[in-house]
């Protein structure tokens, strides 16, 4: 029934239910019953209306890079793949705006922009740099190291087109730099993990490529020095694009060549006007010396690009190398990154876990990767203890802890979205009002939304 009705909408070539092919859409060990590939937003709307009528649940799908995020699906009937919505809708150099369909990769958008006129870019460098799609990046509020200077997805989006859970085709925002007409619905959609709507297109601001970009990796031997150096950076009037702290395990995974007494690296990316980049490189090096740096590495050109790409793509590296790997993201006060790194390292050692730690120091975010290769069973209790502990520590610092991917066995024992806060009741109210039947991605978002 489901199959034939959906087939009427998208056509025979754009629907699958063969178990062999459905395997590519596994989420937490569960398979959907059918995958459809609508050609356009109207078809998405029709499919959604049908899903409502038949009480099927729907999961939007870009490149599948975020499939590990969120809770285990409560019910998993249909995947709507956005892969056929992959075109550029608008690109206006005179207004610096770009509208791409949800299934297009950010990589393709960036390549296109880089080739126009003097060369432009969308100021985002989130993980899965080659495969992540515009819709997926927005739905997961995904960002990368350069958010320190440029802001995150929410600061970069002018408009979003999406299909609401009742099938209505909605436009939020537009293409102007400023817009306060009606409620800012786009903000609700960003980071909502497909639980309030299925994104069909996104309009980003973009900017000219910087005149110059360069990287300094400042090598330090203690966390005290690391703290000293990063807080000095934050309170100076320098504006680097990225300030990232890496621990020894993370450096090792990236095969960085670091002297033995180097325990931490603070990688600084600076970009913009040439003179200001040169000045910042000089100042950063000086500040590093002031914080007892044991070495400094400089990356330019290709090396610079490759370094940041592999740093952005760290979760991908972990997923490929460690079948039982776990990725967590904690947020906290921006003065606490070194403190959080220390807590993680000390407790991980105590619990017998190996962790690669990368802190987006200027933003008060820590990505922690627990590197498990062979199995998880014998570590389960330790992991639960450790993560509950770390959630508590982040909450103490006004933050929280989110598990970005983990084996099902662990997901079954923890809240992957961390601690609920007072405002959760409002979130529940919004979900209930906008998706009363709960057909969009049920069970995967905060508090089981």
């Amino acid at each position: 029934m489901m199959f034939s009705k959906a087939e009427e909408i998208v056509g025979r070539d754009y629907i699958i239910n063969d178990p062999g092919r459905l395997k590519d859409f596994t989420v937490d060990g569960k398979l959907p019953r059918v995958v459809v590939y609508p050609a356009n937003v109207e078809e998405i709307s029709q499919v959604i209306k049908l899903a409502n009528k038949e009480d099927w649940t729907v999961m939007p799908w870009g490149a599948g890079t975020k499939r590990g995020m969120g809770g285990i699906p409560r019910k998993f009937d249909m995947v709507i793949s956005l892969s056929r919505l992959n075109r550029i809708l608008e690109l206006e150099l005179g207004n610096l705006h770009f509208t791409g369909q949800a299934g297009m990769t950010l990589h393709e958008a960036q390549e296109t922009l880089a080739g126009k006129g003097r060369g432009y870019f969308i100021r985002l460098n989130p993980p899965f740099s080659k495969s992540a799609t515009l819709g997926g990046i927005v739905a997961a509020n995904s960002s990368g190291p350069s958010r320190f200077l440029y802001g995150s997805t929410r600061d970069m989006i002018l408009g979003i087109g999406f299909v609401a859970p009742n099938g209505d085709i909605i436009r939020a925002g537009g293409r102007t730099a400023k817009n306060v007409s009606g409620y800012d619905i786009g903000k609700l959609i960003i980071g909502s993990l497909g639980t309030l709507g299925i994104i069909s297109d996104v309009t980003f601001k973009f900017l000219p490529l910087p005149e110059k970009s360069a990287t300094l990796a400042v090598i330090l031997s203690s966390l005290e020095d690391t703290h000293d150096f990063t807080s000095g950076m934050l309170n100076s009037n320098l504006f680097p694009a990225s300030i990232e702290i890496l621990n020894t395990t993370a450096m090792h995974e990236l095969s960085m060549d670091i002297p033995d007494n180097g325990k931490y690296v603070v990688a600084i990316c600076t970009e913009g006007v040439k003179e200001s980049v040169d000045r910042q490189l000089k100042d950063v090096e000086e500040m590093g010396k002031g914080s007892n740096a044991v070495g400094v590495r400089s990356y330019l050109g290709e090396d610079h690009v490759n370094f940041w790409e592999s740093l952005s793509d760290f979760p991908k590296i972990v997923a490929e190398r460690y079948p039982y790997g776990i990725a967590c993201k904690s947020n906290f006060l921006i003065s606490k990154p070194a403190e959080m790194v220390k807590l993680w390292e000390d407790r991980a050692i105590k619990n017998g876990l190996s962790c690669a730690l990368i802190s987006r120091a200027g933003n008060g975010v820590l990505y922690s990767y627990i590197l498990l290769k062979d199995s998880i069973t014998e570590h389960l209790d330790a992991l639960v203890n450790h993560l509950e502990d770390m959630t508590e520590e982040a909450v103490k610092r006004d933050g929280n802890l989110v598990i970005e991917f983990a084996p099902i066995a662990l997901k079954e024992r923890l809240s992957v979205w961390g601690r609920l806060r007072d405002d959760f009741k409002i979130m529940q109210g919004l979900k209930k009002q906008i998706d009363p039947a709960g057909i969009l991605n049920p069970g995967r978002f905060i508090g089981g939304i």
């Binding site: 409620y183 980071g191 913009g272 906008i434």
Partner: protein, 461 residues
């Protein structure tokens, strides 16, 4: 509910009679804002704490009385008008800075503080709060939050929403909750992002948590003078296409220049057709080169002259013209309508031409001041508000301008909001489905429609 009972109930809550106002003069004064609309509240209350706001809301919810939160009433679209009577909560007593947390680059303030006062409190630390609405010396942080205010600096730094990280809010039933927080990326829906710019129709903010940042090391302020509006507009496009990101790109037209010179004497030449105010900020390195390049681009577009401020006093003077523009234009006529239609930057020249034509057709003078870098227009349509026919005419002009903006791929409000004034134009940019979704959001936050009712959304049929 009987008005007398309402007043005595509020006096119970506030305890101090001086802060519950209901004289005829008070009711008249709080029926105004900076728009053309008027209303009349039943009573005005000035709470001192969140707990009092919560009690007021509990009372209003129980009795189904409309409530409008109000800062300084600088709203330009009728957002702070008590159109359905009821209670006005005026936040002038809740104007404290609760915390300046330099280490974490955050501050918490109460909604009644003037934006500029807050910035002055940050200055000794060498820190800034970036949004800079032109009215910042009198507009409040709570008002900026409600309207998602912009300002000249937002070309580079974004608008209020990009700097608001959380808020303590009182909900329709008097419950208090925090949304957002000092840390970024709290899991869940972005409620702060939704509340900013909701024009006080979803909840009442009682504390605001904002991002502050170290002040830029250097600034360079330029004033370019043009003989045609089009040359000035083209210069804006050229600067942007050249890859330069100034902090500010502001334009003023001839009528505005005349008004400004008559009032603040900023040194703008009276015979110019347009001036561009351009400011760069950031590190000093490379700034002179960019300034030279901007001057070159201005000259290529036939700028008559480009002045550079040599010191802070000269900079303040150049800015005084822009900051004082609305006040100065107000001296030209008994009243004006200012709307803020916004278009893609590259559509500015053609849209401006059309705006001028509309003014001519209706025989009303229009002064243009605008955030050119953001495509945000501020046509000030001058008229005599004692003349009924003119008042009707000016509303038609406003509506036509918004239509021009919508047709150019823009929107009907860049930073002033919809309020009462633009409800009828919502259909220019929103479909019925879009509006029905906005209404669902309103229902979640305000099921009984008591929080600033009758704003933004068209009445249901």
């Amino acid at each position: 509910m009987e008005k007398e009972n309402m007043i005595s109930a509020l006096k119970e809550i506030i305890k101090d009679e001086r802060y519950v106002l209901s004289s005829d003069v008070d009711l008249l004064l709080y029926g105004y804002d900076a728009s053309l609309y008027r209303g009349k509240p039943d009573v005005i209350v000035l709470p001192n704490t969140t707990a009092e706001v919560s009690e007021i809301m509990k009372f209003a919810y129980r009795e189904k009385i409309p409530v409008v939160a109000r800062g300084s009433g600088t709203n330009l679209t009728g957002g702070s008008i008590p159109g359905k009577g009821g209670i006005v909560i005026h936040f002038s007593r809740m104007d404290r800075v609760i915390e300046i947390d330099i280490e974490n680059q955050r501050a918490i303030v109460e909604p009644g503080i003037f934006t500029l006062d807050f910035k002055n409190r940050l200055a000794p630390y060498g820190f800034v709060y970036q949004p800079d609405p032109a009215s910042e010396s009198v507009s409040t942080m709570g008002g900026n939050f409600a309207e998602n205010s912009g300002g000249p600096l937002c070309f580079k730094y974004g608008v209020t929403t990009n700097h608001m990280l959380g808020a303590e809010v009182v909900l329709y039933n008097g419950e208090m909750t925090w949304v957002g927080g000092k840390a970024l990326d709290n899991p869940g829906y972005d409620l702060t992002g939704l509340l900013v710019g909701s024009e006080g129709t979803l909840a009442i903010a009682t504390k605001l948590l904002v991002r502050i940042m170290p002040a830029p090391e250097a600034r360079k302020t330029l004033l370019a003078i043009f003989d045609t509006l089009k040359d000035a507009a083209n210069t804006v496009s050229d600067i942007i296409e050249d890859g330069i990101i100034p902090a500010t790109l502001e334009m003023l037209d001839k009528l505005t220049i005349e008004a400004v010179e008559a009032s603040v004497h900023a040194g703008y030449p009276l015979d110019a057709e347009a001036v561009l105010l351009i400011e760069l900020d950031g590190l000093k390195d490379g700034m002179e080169r960019l300034a030279d390049r901007i001057i070159e681009l201005c000259k290529q577009n036939k700028a008559r002259d480009v002045k550079a401020a040599k010191n802070e006093d000269e900079r303040a003077l150049l800015w005084a013209g822009r900051k004082g523009a609305f006040g100065a234009v107000a001296r030209l006529e008994t009243s004006y309508l200012c709307n803020d239609g916004t278009v893609p930057r590259n559509k500015l020249p053609e849209v401006l031409e059309k705006v001028v034509a509309v003014g001519k057709r209706y025989n009303l003078r229009i002064a243009n001041v605008f955030h050119a870098g953001d495509g945000n227009l501020h046509p000030l349509v001058l008229f005599d508000d004692r003349n009924k026919a003119d008042l009707e005419k000016v509303k038609l002009v406003g509506s036509e301008i918004l239509k021009i903006c919508a047709e150019a791929g823009g929107t009907i409000s860049g930073e002033h909001g919809i309020g009462t004034e633009k409800i009828k134009e919502m259909g220019l940019i929103f479909s019925d489905e879009d509006i029905s979704l906005l209404r669902k959001v309103k229902t979640v936050f305000d099921p009984e429609e008591i929080i600033n009712p009758g704003k933004i959304l068209p009445e249901t049929a």
